[in-house]
């Protein structure tokens, strides 16, 4: 009996010892599998999405930013009355009530109702306290300037990936990495011992600083838009470069979309950057490249004479004519060939230079190859391979039979403007991390010298002569600044078959200013203007307006002007500017409570006169003051407001 008891005790003792040893082994000995199981039980994986970096201009003005948004979802099984919920939500979300009701009646447990709602929309929906709906925090890309620079910035998709433009090219840098942290959680899944910083600061992608100047960009877009409206054109595009570095200061292609607008986002054509992607015959803007090549190859000098055959010149079996039938030239110097934009003169230079040399010149200036700008979708242009028949060579002399991009032309002019060095254009100035650390900084890249300084100076003089009075680029002049440039009118190539489209032209102007110390190279092109197509009257004035505003924005002091420029000038559309005596009289009358005679004043002047007086002004019309109520001389004491009718004087509006 005693033995049995001892035996049972021993057996149970051994079992307990085994269990203790085993549990000690499980608890104390390292075991990867068990550790994983344990961690899974109490650790929560928190993933914080990265916010897309900001894109700003060279002055730090934000062009594309990301903010928090909210995506609304619904669990239809928890919604008791889809009809009522749909009726409440549809007007707030700008959705169709019937289709929303269908969504809410679905058999799924999760449906998106609307994505990327803003704070105010979320608050409105929250206040309804609807059961069965919820929000997921999201990120939304906003372009604060709307249309501005949209063809360069591009757009991002709903999942936050770059689809076009800079957003696409620098997608990896901008998007950043989501932050993943493992934290202990409680029974309700809430994270415990959370580091405070993780919650309040989103991880962010890198910020990109462009070389673009927002003000120059705005001026360029406005002028191109005005040109499209005024000339009834299909489109217009332009680019402004810094000739010393080839950094892009403005780049516009109109019409363009607004990436904030869902309808525009669905139309990729509205985000096509035609400055880089479209190729077309440059027309006469290529003539200076031919002449520059001629100077570099020692084929010609500025004073060399060419017989321009009185407007008709036969090359093999084809006739070459001047662009304007009134242009009947005989002997012209090379400088005059540019100034008068003679096709025959240019053809003769090209024939004299020969195909091989001319091809070398074109390649040197960067034609027929991508410029290497940091932008996806750039076209390399089109140059026929050698051999060229004489007719093609002569045509290429005046910018036909070759296809280029606007950027290639502008960059080639930059080389002439800066004294003969071709640079690689670039659009991103710097990339910085979210904490401001510089990750990348652009350095101007010199590609090659294409002209000697002396030849570049000679080209400069010849191109400045193009904008002299009576020459083709006259309307491209900007008061106070010497302008060097060249017009270009080219017929549009038929996309579907051989030859050219009837009555369809691209009018362009490429130039730089001030010619004595170039600060900007500006290229503008107007696509298929309906009212007029000669570049001298279409593109040159657009160039001049952009250039004048750009000089003002950049604080470049005018370098040459005459006495007449200093004289006060009467505004073209406004009435007589009142004299000092009249202004004094107005102020005195107002103080006495008598309605002064405001006739002929601009709105700005009216406001200036009544400044500090407790009276409201209601306005009607535009222009200068035509009449007022109360009438001049009447008391204004009993009136709380005065009514001002504005208009244009008949003689001024003519």
């Amino acid at each position: 009996m005693r033995l049995r008891i001892h035996l049972i005790f021993t057996v149970f003792f051994l079992i307990w010892v085994f269990l203790l040893v085993r549990s000690a082994y499980i608890q104390l000995a390292p075991n990867a599998r068990l550790e994983k199981v344990v961690k899974k039980q109490y650790l929560s994986n928190l993933s914080i999405n990265s916010r897309r970096g900001t894109i700003s201009d060279r002055n730090g003005e934000e062009l594309a930013v990301s903010t928090t948004s909210f995506s609304l979802y619904a669990d239809p099984s928890l919604i008791s009355d889809p009809y009522i919920v749909a009726s409440h939500l549809a007007p707030l979300l700008d959705l169709n009530r019937i289709s929303l009701k269908k969504k809410l009646k679905s058999q799924k447990r999760f449906v998106w109702v609307k994505r990327q709602l803003n704070f105010s929309e979320k608050e409105k929906i929250d206040s309804l306290k609807i059961q069965g709906i919820g929000f997921v925090e999201d990120s939304r890309r906003i372009y604060p300037n709307g249309h501005l620079l949209s063809t360069v910035l591009g757009l991002v998709g709903q999942e936050g990936e770059g689809l076009e433009g800079i957003e696409l090219f620098y997608n990896e840098e901008l998007k950043g990495q989501p932050l993943k942290v493992s934290l202990p959680k409680d029974a309700r899944g809430r994270p415990l011992t959370l580091p405070h910083e993780i919650l309040v600061t989103n991880p962010q992608g890198h910020n990109i600083e462009l070389t673009i100047d927002k003000n120059l960009q705005f001026v360029m877009e406005q002028e191109l838009l005005t040109a499209i409206k005024k000339l009834n054109a299909d489109g217009a595009w332009g680019v402004i470069l810094n000739p010393k570095t080839s950094e892009v200061l403005a780049m516009a292609s109109l019409p363009q979309g607004d990436a904030n607008n869902a309808v525009d986002r669905g139309n990729p054509r509205k985000f096509r950057n035609r400055v880089l992607t479209d190729i077309y015959e440059p027309g006469s803007t290529l003539k200076p490249i031919l002449v520059a090549g001629g100077l570099a190859q020692k084929v010609l000098t500025a004073k060399k004479m060419y017989n321009c055959e009185k407007g008709r010149f036969k090359v093999t079996n084809r006739w070459i004519k001047e662009a304007d039938r009134h242009h009947v030239f005989e002997n012209l110097t090379v400088s005059d060939i540019l100034a008068h934009s003679s096709n025959i003169g240019s053809a003769k230079i090209a024939l004299e230079m020969g195909a091989k040399k001319y091809l070398g010149v074109l390649n040197d200036f960067g034609f027929g190859q991508k410029t290497g700008i940091d932008f996806r979708g750039e076209s390399s242009g089109l140059i026929n391979p050698l051999p060229w028949v004489p007719h093609l060579l002569s045509n290429m002399g005046f910018g036909h039979g070759i296809a280029v991009t606007a950027l290639q032309v502008a960059n080639a002019y930059s080389a002439i403007a800066n004294g003969g060095v071709l640079h690689q254009p670039f659009i991103v100035r710097a990339i910085r991390s979210a904490d401001g650390q510089e990750i990348f900084k652009s350095v101007p890249k010199e590609l090659r010298r294409v002209l000697s300084v002396k030849d570049a100076q000679e080209m400069n003089l010849m191109l400045t002569a193009v904008t002299a009075p009576g020459k083709t680029g006259e309307l491209g002049r900007v008061m106070g600044y010497p302008v060097a440039g060249k017009t270009g009118t080219a017929q549009k190539v038929n996309q579907n078959s051989r030859g050219y489209q009837a009555n369809a032209y691209i009018s362009s102007f490429a130039g730089y200013l001030p010619a004595n110390d170039p600060r900007l190279v500006i290229y503008v092109a107007v696509d298929n203007p309906q009212k007029n197509y000669y570049a001298s009257t279409v593109a040159a004035p657009v160039f001049a307006r952009i250039a004048a505003n750009a000089m003002r924005i950049m604080n470049v002091a005018p370098s040459h002007f005459n006495e007449e420029d200093l004289m006060p000038q009467r505004a073209p559309h406004f009435g007589t500017v009142p004299s000092v005596a009249k202004k004094f009289q107005i102020a005195t009358n107002i103080e006495k409570g008598i309605m002064p005679n405001l006739k002929g004043l601009t709105l700005r002047e009216v406001y200036r006169q009544i400044e500090g007086i407790d009276i409201n002004v209601s306005l009607q019309g535009r222009g200068v003051v035509q009449s007022t109520f109360p009438r001049p001389g009447e008391s204004i004491k009993e009136y709380k407001s005065i009514h001002v009718t504005l208009g244009f004087d008949e003689k001024d509006s003519k």
Binding site: P144, R190, V200, M479, A548, M551, A557
Partner: protein
């Protein structure tokens, strides 16, 4: 003396029990504060995001295109024409543009 000997184990047990309760209380307080931090952190983030959103909204309202449009439509102002723009040169000479 005998009474003192008898009370000593009792005091020890009380101290141990109170210490344990205190430890538990401290743990619970830490947990409660962490929930509070979580709550206010989320609020802070929301406010930061809201501030950011308002800044962007302000930038949208202040965009050049909109101001230009407002000036033309509501204030009846016009684009400056040639001759209305005056440029000051470095020599304090004003020339018209």
């Amino acid at each position: 003396m005998n009474q003192q000997v008898q009370i000593k184990p009792f005091i020890s047990i009380v101290i141990i029990v109170v210490s344990m309760f205190f430890l538990v209380f401290i743990k619970m307080e830490v947990r409660r504060l962490s929930y509070s931090v979580l709550h206010w952190s989320l609020k802070e983030k929301l406010l930061k995001d809201k501030y950011r959103y308002k800044t962007v909204e302000l930038a949208q309202i202040m965009r050049t295109e909109r101001i230009k449009n407002y000036a033309e439509v509501h204030l009846a102002l016009n684009e400056p024409q040639k001759g209305q723009i005056i440029h000051f040169t470095g020599n304090r000479i004003a020339i018209k543009q």
